[in-house]
């Protein structure tokens, strides 16, 4: 009897170990960034393309206040309410003490410096496809922004989602390498794909999610209900979005639709970011949207 018990225990421990190996946070090799140097000027473009201020600045911030990344916005979801943390340059309240590798692990692997998984409301499922050079440039730019001492708020998330280790399984299922829209793309379309699928994280809102909260890549950008609110994220595949390339560029610049309604809601925050990109980048996003498979 004792023997059987002991055997059972061994099996259980090995099982737990294997499970842990599968779901444990995986960081980037320590020398990943050793050959790269950051450029704050280029990092500013990455910052706007990535839309960091939309979530980490105050929701009502305009102008220079968008550079005060003190956190505090709340994101209701079916799994609980998440609060954006302070990522300002404050070494205690923010990420002033982080190095480049810390930021790369957060954005590309969804792992904190303490080795814990982040919740995917921080859209690392998209940022995972970012160029390492862009991450290093972004780190350099973030270091030029103001420090703010406001402490980060705690998420309001219940069991089992409050166990960060459980996110390891989610990541295995939904953190995917490779582009969604593949095939023979022009240089402009490839740039657009990078901006839309990686930095601009358009899919995080416009792609419907399955019951576990993963993006359904088979229905890429096909839209769906806003999870905790009114209305729908519109379908922006060619099946529904019949705007010309110039119409899309105009929308991402001024917020005007082709029939002179204006953008609203969270998309207005996105347009505040895209409006700061070079025109060629907005044109690239438009070119990419024209290449996305039509999906009803």
């Amino acid at each position: 009897m004792r023997r059987i018990l002991r055997l059972f225990l061994v099996v259980a421990i090995v099982g737990l170990g294997v499970t842990y190996l599968v779901v444990r946070p995986r960081t980037l090799p320590a020398d990943t960034l050793s050959r790269l140097t950051g450029d704050a000027g280029r990092g500013e473009l990455v910052f706007w393309a990535g839309g960091c201020a939309s979530c980490h600045a105050d929701a009502k911030a305009t102008g220079d206040d968008k550079l005060v990344l003190k956190g505090g916005q709340s994101f209701p979801s079916p799994f609980g309410t998440f609060i954006a943390p302070n990522i300002s340059n404050d070494p205690i309240a923010g990420i002033g003490a982080w190095n480049e590798l810390d930021l790369a692990n957060a954005m590309i692997r969804g792992v904190s410096p303490e080795g814990q998984h982040y919740y995917p409301v921080f859209p690392y499922a998209s940022y995972a496809k970012a160029d390492l050079q862009d991450v290093v440039d972004l780190r350099a730019f973030l270091a030029t922004l103001p420090a703010d001492p406001t402490p980060s708020g705690a998420h309001e998330v219940g069991f089992p989602f409050n166990i960060r280790l459980s996110l390891g399984g989610w990541k295995l299922l939904f953190l995917k390498d490779g582009w969604v829209v593949d095939g023979d793309l022009t240089e402009e379309e490839q740039r657009g794909r990078y901006l839309a699928e990686a930095l601009g994280h358009c899919g995080e809102c416009h792609t419907p999610r399955n019951a576990l909260g993963g993006m359904e890549s088979a229905r890429w950008l096909a839209g769906g209900p806003v999870p905790a609110g009114r209305g729908n994220f519109p379908n922006i595949t060619p099946a529904k979005l019949d705007w010309s390339k110039a119409d899309i560029v105009e929308y991402l610049t001024s917020g005007f639709t082709p029939d002179f309604d204006s953008v609203g809601g969270h998309m207005a925050l996105v347009v505040e970011n895209t409006a700061r990109l070079p025109e060629a980048d907005r044109a690239a996003i438009a070119a990419y949207l024209k290449r996305v498979p039509a999906s009803e």
Binding site: K60, R230, G255, F256, S262, G264, G265
Partner: protein, 154 residues
Amino acid sequence: MKKILAGLALATIAITGVASAQDSPFALQIGARKGVMDYRQLQLITLGQMAKGEVEYNAEAAQKAADNVVASAMLDQSMLWPQGSDSDSNIESRAMASIWAEGSDIGAKGKAFAEAAMAMQAAAGVDLASLQAAMGPLGETCVACHKDYRAPAN
């Protein structure tokens, strides 16, 4: 046959009309304020198509559209936004409940729009370049209010 069909169509309209009035106690107010918005949009189509060069610039038509935008800003809308007529409780509205919540600055957003509309009124009839220069700032005031207070469509 035609008569019967026409009668049926009228009956359907009558029934749906009654049904939606029953759905929301604020159907009239919501319908009216959406109408004000649609009216603004119509004027912006005239102005915007000229600004983009899709339609040839015409000082008179531009002035008329700009005057209309200002008129829409001057309307007394106080009866169009009753408490409880938000999108949480009324399926036909996209007006977010935060309009009526503590800390709402919808009044300031409306004022910024009225000021931009008057700037457009002063510019639209001058020449195309003046109209184009006023278009961006006017559009920004629509965006600013829709960003905070209008939910996405269904």
